[in-house]
Symmetry: C2
Subunit: 542 residues, 2 copies
């Protein structure tokens, strides 16, 4: 149809087409609100003008040290201002942000740096030992920049430059350019991968722009939020929030350590309006004690994702004046891409019913084009009956480009034209989806599927339970049966295995109740997820 009257002589040109990029957000924030506070860290504050100029300087310094389009800049930093600046400076230089989980061991660091081909690595003295050990494994070492933090006393410098010295080599007037193509890569993030080597998820400018805005719509955010960084920026680029906060000309409150006292101090000092975190962070906050939590004197918006927040945690958060929005996503979809979008009439329901509705993952993000729960082979959507289990699949602009240097894994993930999440869910009659399990976490007992999440939710509703995880345990008769791993509250009274099993049998179908309960702290991944694969192994040896 190129000869349609609506196409002829109506082509793209410099005046009417521009690649979408979140870099336009910081440029506008600095132009329109130059004096507004962009970054707070302990007692220091920086304006949008300063933050923008420092980012330009950083980009310029990278260019002067040979970084160019499609190069990789790795960063292993806590939530300090330099980590925020990285999210603008690296793409300004045309390069790709490769954020490393700060809890990785030397082998994992070395694998990622080698696989991504990082030209530069920013790191923090706290991680010097692990990073130095990783660097020893590399033939081709990146330029290493230490980001010194006056708030951290120990650790050592291992780099070629200190960050501020490196910035001093750059030009604050650096004339950065938008990417030539909005499909250009902006970030690389490795999945935590419980088996085998992690896969490198590549995202692009267009998707980062759209999901940054989609966060605003999904969370009903207003202009100038004060956002507390309880969510690691290394995790899916902080779910795109560095760019979201720039788009809203807001303030980022940095936080080196996610401890309860540090969180509530920051809330008190900065009139925080928004924060994000995995349910484990919510749990930490809900259990912080009155002395700390009393500073929450107005509603604060909390977004959670990573696992369904147990109803008991949601209820505790509501009592503390936190307004929790539940989202769901994966690294492959830029962080959150599904939201439990609230309905006003649900406010009238009993708290327990509200929490159950809120524990559902929900509906597609405003800028995700399609979300289905379907048979992974036929791609046939399951009926909206709240019962039939299928795989969650995504389609749209906030789905990754693919996995770096891994065309097989990319092709497999995109089979049939949908991104396959590996998560199993049902679709309720109102169209809201609810995760029942990771594909590999389903327990098949006597031919019946048991959702480990359902058993966990029952355990969480017991007042003595702080954390719970349920996995399959081999069983001669049934094939598999549920095994529970439980960490009790410090103030819980005495409770034994049989009492907890009986509690479950009283509150769910008997065949779903765990046959064994193991007490003790739960092992976690570096992103705070419970290491279920390790528990599965332990259950196999019981």
């Amino acid at each position: 149809m190129a000869n349609s009257q609506y196409s002829a002589d109506l082509d793209k040109n410099a005046a009417n087409y521009s690649p979408l990029s979140p870099l336009t957000f910081i440029e506008r924030a600095a132009a329109v609100y130059p004096e507004r506070c962009a970054l707070v860290y302990n007692n220091s504050r920086r304006s949008w003008r300063e933050t923008y100029r420092r980012s330009c300087r950083f980009a310029s310094a990278l260019r002067q040290h040979g970084v160019t389009k499609d190069d990789t800049v790795a960063v292993m930093l806590p939530n300090v201002p330099a980590m925020y600046e990285t999210h603008f400076a690296v793409p300004m230089a045309g390069a790709i942000i490769h954020a490393l989980n700060i809890r990785l061991d030397p082998d994992a660091i070395a694998f990622q740096l080698e696989h991504s081909g990082a030209r530069v690595l920013l790191t923090d003295p706290e991680y010097a030992t692990a990073v130095a050990a990783a660097l020893e494994q590399l033939d081709d070492k990146p330029l290493v920049i230490d980001v010194d933090d006056p708030a951290f006393k120990d650790g050592e410098r291992i780099g070629d430059f200190e960050y501020e010295d490196f910035l001093a080599t750059g030009d604050a007037e650096f004339a950065w350019e938008l990417p030539h193509d909005e499909w250009q890569a902006i970030a690389l993030g490795y999945t935590s991968g419980t088996t085998g080597n992690p896969k490198g998820v590549v995202t692009h400018h267009r998707g980062a722009y759209l999901n940054a805005v989609s966060n605003i719509l999904a969370w009903n955010m207003g202009t100038h939020p004060v956002y507390l960084w309880t969510l690691p920026m290394f995790h899916c680029n902080g779910w795109c929030f560095p760019w979201t906060i720039a788009a809203l000309n807001g303030t980022s409150v940095c936080l080196r350590d996610v401890r309860d006292s540090a969180i509530f101090d920051a809330i008190r000092q900065n009139r925080v309006t928004h924060l994000c975190g995995a349910p484990i962070v919510l749990n930490l906050m809900a259990n912080a004690g009155d002395e700390l939590t009393k500073v929450v004197d107005r509603p604060i918006n909390v977004m959670t994702a990573g696992a369904a927040p147990p109803p008991a945690v949601l209820e505790a958060m509501a009592r503390l004046n936190f307004n929790v929005t539940h989202t769901y996503g994966l690294t492959e979809v830029y962080g959150p891409a599904v939201v439990c979008s609230w309905h006003e009439d649900w406010d009238q329901l009993p708290m327990r019913d509200q929490s159950q509705l809120k524990a559902r993952q929900g509906v597609r993000y405003p800028m995700l084009e399609e979300l289905i729960v379907a048979d992974p082979e036929t791609l046939e959507p399951v009926p909206k009956d709240g019962k039939t289990i299928g795989e969650i699949m995504f389609r749209g602009n906030i789905v990754m480009k693919g996995y770096l240097k891994n065309p097989e894994a990319t092709a497999q993930a995109f089979g049939g034209g949908y991104f396959h999440s590996g998560d199993l869910a049902v679709c309720h009659p109102d169209g809201y989806i609810e995760i029942k399990d990771r594909a590999k976490d389903v327990i098949i007992s006597g031919g019946e599927n048991i959702s480990s999440i359902e058993v966990e939710a029952t355990l969480y509703s017991h007042p003595a339970v702080l954390e719970a995880a349920v996995t399959a345990m081999p069983d001669e008769k049934w094939g598999e049966t549920p095994c529970a791993f439980v960490d009790l509250r410090s103030d819980a009274g005495a409770i034994n295995e049989q009492e907890l099993i009986d509690f479950c049998r009283d509150n769910m179908a008997h065949f779903k109740a765990p046959r064994r309960v193991v007490f003790g702290p739960l092992p976690k991944t570096s992103t705070g997820k419970i290491r279920k694969f390790e528990l599965r192994e332990r259950a196999g040896r019981l």
Copy 2:
């Protein structure tokens, strides 16, 4: 760089790329909030599910009557529900919305229908006489559909179908598709053009999507707004607000006639949160009288554009509890594309200073990539001194594709890679732009440029003045001098020409004061703009 590791095997596919289109907004609104009210008109209400299904049915009916990709569907309707549905149904059918100004005369209607090649025309019995006369001029007549309105008693049907009957021929389950390419045209709107034939501005799905969202960010809109349609939907597709309200799952309150009593009745009955209008609508509201305005018992957000609102009008609106946001744009940039983004510390200033700050056009819309005030020849930006005049130019994704079947005008408008607005402005030290005049409205007196807008603002500050317009008047000695046309308030006391001239001389440089003042109602275009070209002619004959 196609062989970069970030490009290889990382192409677009059905899973990770989708054309941007505002059609995704209504599909999501109907899926997530099916029972919420989408449309109110007098005493009838329709949910998002109904509105979506009716739009699908309408699209299906269009297809069944031969409408296909890149066909034109014209519509000449007031702000009734069918006009809202048109904004979804027509692009669902792959076609282009061509909205006609309801005040056009038969010749202008005939010109536009012939130029656009409209296959279908929707119209209202109120305009039957003008439309019938226009149709007589056409060799190739469109299919005509009357949208009968129980709220309008007179007029006659001239169509082949009545709208509801036409919808009945369609299928509510119609499987519409997104455009293959987001650059595909979505709408056509003719500029009012004071001389020569009007030009047809062609916009696309990508831009409509982005400006619909940009409205949300620029206006700090929350979810579920109740939006009163005081702005004609035929005007730049209602500044993209039909799509904005769908994206926010809000409610559109339709309004056939923009009269003060109808506006305030609708506000009272529907807890309106937002409305838009030209300054002339603000003036109407500000002068409605206590009996009507007393229903405004909480702040209501008002967006205005089309001309700078005089400070006196802004102050009156503020007193009535209307929170006015001033924007600026043109049909060529999808409606508003510049916003006077507010700063909290301005709230502390005297009301008069606030109004003067707010009367400035401001800064680029969040999703407009570039806005400059520059020399139209060299494209050199003017200094940010608040004095040097240049032309306002735009660059980015919310700039039109170009003018329909008019490559010369398109090339001229995009000269140098910027869209040239024809509006003259200064840039203040804080980066906010302020329009000084249309290029042709500047008065050159003794070699000095006089901004007609500045003289008008002075006149508006006189309590007796309801409306004012200033144009050049030929003068043997000075070349040109300012001539004022003034409509006085009905309750204004006696005031004569000399008194008004003296008032101006007391409040601005003497050479800028008008030499003549002509009293009486001002002529307006069909979009409510003052017909300055007509006043210029009158001034030439004085």
